[in-house]
Structure formats: structure tokens, C-alpha cells
């Protein structure tokens, strides 16, 4: 099994979710995260005092899939999340050793 993790622009979440539903993905986990990459933060000025905000808000998506689906999921996310501007985010894939569905106790690919 694989875990596909994507960090994307928050307003692209709906597009990515829709693209994954088309692929038949059964579930995913979304978190609000902050970070920085090549997209620098911004400055804010309050009563003349300048603050540098260098952590940018992003959305992180985690999807668990069986091995053959991983590439298709990655492609779907990249296509849906792309704006072509700096700060579009990253997608990466990691191997998952063990997976258990809590309700039934199913293990491995059956639990995806």
C-alpha cells in the first residue's frame, strides 16, 4: 500500500477532491497546515511596525491507496492542483507497512 501526501493551495481543495472522487477514491484526510517553500511569505504593517509572515497557509491531503493506483492518484492531484504560479505545493508517495480498518479488523489492501 502507498500513502499519497499532497500539500496544496487551500482554494484548490475542492478541485482535487472532485478529481479523486472521479478515480473512485473511498476516503481521504485533510489538515490545515502552514509552511514555506519557494513562495516567500508577506509583510504586514500595524501602526508603523512591520511584521514578516513567512509561513503560508496550505492544505495537506493524505490518501491511502493500493500500489497500482498510486501513480494515477498523483497525476490526478497534480493536474487538479496546478495553477502554474509559485506556491502550488508538492505531492509525494510513501510506502505503508501495515494498514488496519478499525471497525472490521481487515488488514492490508482490503482495508484501503
Amino acid at each position: 500500500m502507498k500513502q499519497v501526501t499532497a500539500v496544496i493551495k487551500p482554494f484548490k481543495l475542492d478541485d482535487v477532491k472532485a478529481a479523486l472522487e472521479v478515480l473512485g477514491i473511498q476516503g481521504l484526510t485533510v489538515s490545515e497546515v502552514q509552511g514555506f517553500g519557494r513562495q516567500k511569505g508577506h509583510t504586514e504593517v500595524y501602526r508603523g511596525a512591520e511584521y514578516t509572515v513567512d509561513l503560508v497557509p496550505k492544505v495537506k491531503i493524505d490518501v491511502l491507496v493500493d500500489d497500482p493506483s498510486a501513480d494515477k492518484v498523483v497525476d490526478a492531484i497534480v493536474e487538479a492542483a496546478k495553477t502554474g504560479k509559485i506556491g502550488d505545493g508538492k505531492v509525494w508517495v510513501t510506502s505503508v507497512d501495515t494498514l488496519v480498518r478499525v471497525r472490521t479488523g481487515e488488514r492490508g489492501a482490503d482495508a484501503v
Binding site: V45, Y46, R47, G48, A49
Partner: protein, 450 residues
């Protein structure tokens, strides 16, 4: 002097000024602090109502005004603190004037708290309030408003409290910030405002309440009193409130725009905090001057105050003074501008001019007068700064070396809301709720029968 219409207005005006402290100023200040210190900031304002309010009723009115009426012209530094203790011998028909002045004392003290945000023991703040009102506020109020020593020497114009309220609070705030030192991490850690919507609501409510503050500060003149019946009072009441209401409004508008223009030029953006701050700067500057200038004068005073204060608030970083929420930059600067600019824009065709309150030299320098008015205004500012500066320093140092001002470094980093009040302001996602402790756990310790 008591007419039904005027009396009803004073009841409303008094309630409006109380609203300026609770909740308007608490919201204005609270939004500018960090999310871990907002409750303490609001409590510093809220606590001024009971503490200063009770002091004012017990000996405040007696010390500052000392009369069963609007003042006692004894030409001394103070009236007697004991003669009318607890409003003894003040007739109920005059209670509304006592209460109106009470709300001014309350907000002046609450204003100071903005200079010393996030770092003060709540108990020390309570002790300070009692001492400061007694030694500083009531003395200045008596000397500027109630016929005391200073006014007899230099009859300066302060319609609603540019010296008594704003310069006074600004000086006290600056002196206290100097004595107790900056917040941990000042100029290093980010301390940006946590909720500017609160600040915008607070600024709007302050503006609304300020009509009670300025327009309610009408005093009927001895000229008016010598005439017969309400008719002459009605003429003064209507003419004067119209002018003060208009001047308060347009000066504030000009200041709001003035601040935004300066910000746009210096920092590139017109900000919401700039709009809120400009509104307050304009209200502060027109407070002493709303009864002594005409429409054009009010617009000029407002615009100057908005623009100058927008620059003045940056100075604290240069001199390293952690005047946390800019009480010096806005209230001291705006208060001085409002008081001094009367010496330029004051006109004898204004309400206070018609009331015969201008010196013999006539109006301000731009309105055909000589420098007498400017000189008196300057002396009023100087008197307030010196008296307030000296006695605030004495009180501030006395507290520093006895009960102490500051909470511990750990508590300050943890956040003063939690460490001084045992509360946190926000629990928006419910995840920090923790488990429900038995409400009586503090009283029924383990192994000890309840």
C-alpha cells in the same frame, strides 16, 4: 439651571461616556493585544469602573469639585476631600453631574492601561488606580475645570478634557511604561494585534460615546445665569451643542482620512487599524477644542492630529519605550495638539467665545487674537505634564519597590490571561477544553472530608 430637556440629555450623556470604557475602550485595546493577553487588557479597563467609581463617590467629588453644584472656585490646589465624603450634603438633583464627572475619571484611568499591556500584576494595577486618581486626576480636574489655583492664574480652554483626560493619561502611561520596562521580547517577538474587528468595533463605539463626552460637557455661563428664565439657557444649549456635535464629527472624519493618507504614503497601504486609530486621534484632539473653534478650524485640527499621530506612533521603537498600545503616540500627542491649536484656531465667534471665556487678547493667532490665548493653552499643557509626570513617577516607583509591578517572566510568556485570571479568551475548536474537573475540587481535596 435644571431644565427637563437638558437634564434628560445629561442622563443619556453620562451613560454614553460610561459606555466608552465598558466596553468601547476595552474592545479597542483588547483587539490590539495578543490572543493570550486580551482578557487582562479588557479587565484593566473594566476594573477602572468599580475602583475609580467608588473612589469618586467616596472622596473624589469632594476633593475635585467640593460643591453641591458644578464646581467650587476656591482657587486652591484641591477642594476638601472630607467635606462632602460619600456625597454627604450633595442634593440628589446634582447627582447626575457627579456621575457625569465620575465616568470621565474612569475612562482616564482606563486609558493609561494601554501603555502597560500584558505585563502588570492585577493587584498592583488596582492599588495604582486608587492612588493616581486621588493624587493626580482629581487635582488636575479641580485646577482646570472646577475653579482651582491654576485656572485662576491661567484661564485656559479645555472643553471636555484634552489636558485633564488625554494629556494626563498619555503622560501617566508613558511614565509607567518607562518605570516598569518593556514586555519580554519587545522589538524581537511578533506582537501584532490578534483581532482588529474588536478594535474597529471599539473605535466605532468610542466615537458614538464621545458625543456624550464632548457635547455633554456644556457648562452654562454666569452670563446666561444672570438672565431670566430658561429662554437664555435654551439659546446657549441649542447653539452650543450644535457646534460641539458638528466639530466633534468633522474633526474625527478629517483625522481618519489624514491618518490613512500618511499611512498610504509611508507604508503603501491604508489599514483598518489606521482608520480606527485616526478616529481616536481626531476625537482626542477635538476634545479640548470643540467649543472654541469653527467648522474650518475643527477640520484643520482633526487633519493635523490624524497625520501627526500617524507618524508619532513609530517613535517608541526609536527610543525603545514599550508604550504598548500607543497611549503616548495618540492621546498625549493628540491632546497636546488639540490644546495648543486652540491658540491658533480659537475664535471669539465660537460658543466659548460667546460665553466670554476667552482671555482679553481675543481669539487665536489665525483669528485676530494676540498670543495670550496660545500662552494660556501652553501653560495648561505644561501644568498637566509636570504635575502628572512628577506624581505618577512617585506612585509608580513606590509600587515598583514595594508590591512590584511585573508578573514573572514565565507567566508573561505563558500569557497573562491564564496566569493572572485563570482564563483563556478563545476556545474556538473545543480541543483545548480538557476534561471536566469536579467544580468543588478546589474545596474538597483528596483525603480531606468536605
Amino acid at each position: 439651571m435644571v431644565d427637563n430637556g437638558y437634564y434628560s440629555w445629561m442622563i443619556v450623556a453620562t451613560a454614553l461616556v460610561l459606555m466608552m470604557t465598558t466596553p468601547a475602550l476595552a474592545l479597542f485595546y483588547g483587539g490590539m493585544t495578543r490572543s493570550k493577553t486580551v482578557l487582562n487588557m479588557m479587565m484593566m479597563s473594566f476594573s477602572a469602573v468599580p475602583v475609580v467609581g467608588l473612589v469618586f463617590v467616596l472622596w473624589g467629588w469632594s476633593e475635585g469639585w467640593g460643591a453641591d453644584g458644578v464646581g467650587n472656585s476656591n482657587k486652591d490646589l484641591i477642594a476638601s476631600p472630607f467635606k462632602l465624603f460619600g456625597l454627604h450634603d450633595v442634593s440628589p438633583a446634582n447627582f447626575i453631574y457627579v456621575l457625569f464627572q465620575l465616568t470621565f475619571a474612569v475612562i482616564t484611568v482606563a486609558l493609561i492601561s494601554g501603555s502597560i499591556a500584558d505585563r502588570v500584576k492585577f493587584s498592583s494595577w488596582i492599588v495604582f488606580q486608587v492612588l493616581w486618581v486621588t493624587v493626580v486626576y482629581l487635582v488636575i480636574a479641580h485646577n482646570v475645570w472646577a475653579g482651582g489655583w491654576f485656572y485662576n492664574k491661567f484661564p485656559n480652554l479645555d472643553y471636555a478634557g484634552g489636558t485633564v483626560v488625554h494629556i494626563n493619561a498619555g503622560v501617566a502611561g508613558g511614565v509607567l511604561a518607562l518605570i516598569m520596562g518593556p514586555r519580554r521580547g519587545f522589538k524581537k517577538d511578533p506582537m501584532k494585534p490578534h483581532n482588529l474587528t474588536l478594535t474597529m468595533i471599539g473605535a466605532g463605539l468610542l466615537w458614538f460615546g464621545w458625543y456624550g463626552f464632548n457635547v455633554g460637557s456644556i457648562v452654562f455661563t454666569s452670563q446666561g445665569q444672570s438672565k431670566q428664565g430658561w429662554g437664555s439657557f435654551a439659546a446657549q444649549f441649542q447653539g452650543e451643542t450644535g457646534v460641539t456635535f458638528l466639530n466633534t464629527t468633522i474633526a474625527t472624519m478629517a483625522a481618519c482620512l489624514g491618518w490613512l493618507v500618511v499611512e498610504r504614503i509611508i507604508h503603501g497601504k491604508a489599514t483598518s487599524l489606521g482608520a480606527a486609530s485616526g478616529i481616536v486621534a481626531g476625537l482626542v484632539a477635538i476634545t479640548p477644542s470643540c467649543g472654541s473653534v469653527n467648522t474650518l478650524g475643527a477640520i484643520c485640527i482633526g487633519a493635523i492630529a490624524g497625520m501627526v499621530c500617524a507618524v508619532a506612533i513609530s517613535l517608541k521603537y526609536k527610543i525603545g519605550l514599550d508604550d504598548s498600545l500607543d497611549v503616548v503616540g495618540v492621546h498625549l500627542t493628540g491632546g497636546i495638539l488639540g490644546a495648543i491649536l486652540i491658540g491658533f484656531f480659537g475664535t471669539t465667534s465660537s460658543p466659548q467665545g460667546k460665553d466670554g471665556l476667552f482671555p482679553k487678547g481675543g481669539g487665536g493667532l489665525f483669528y485676530g487674537g494676540d498670543s495670550t490665548l496660545l500662552y494660556h493653552q501652553f501653560m495648561g499643557v505644561l501644568f498637566t505634564i509636570v504635575w502628572c509626570g512628577v506624581f505618577t513617577a512617585i506612585i509608580g516607583l513606590a509600587i515598583k519597590y514595594t508590591i512590584g509591578w511585573r508578573i514573572s517572566e514565565d507567566d508573561e510568556i505563558e500569557g497573562i490571561d491564564l496566569t493572572e485570571h485563570g482564563e483563556t479568551a478563545y476556545d474556538l475548536d473545543g480541543r483545548s477544553s480538557g476534561s471536566l474537573g469536579a467544580p468543588t475540587s478546589a474545596y474538597a481535596k483528596e483525603g480531606v472530608p468536605a
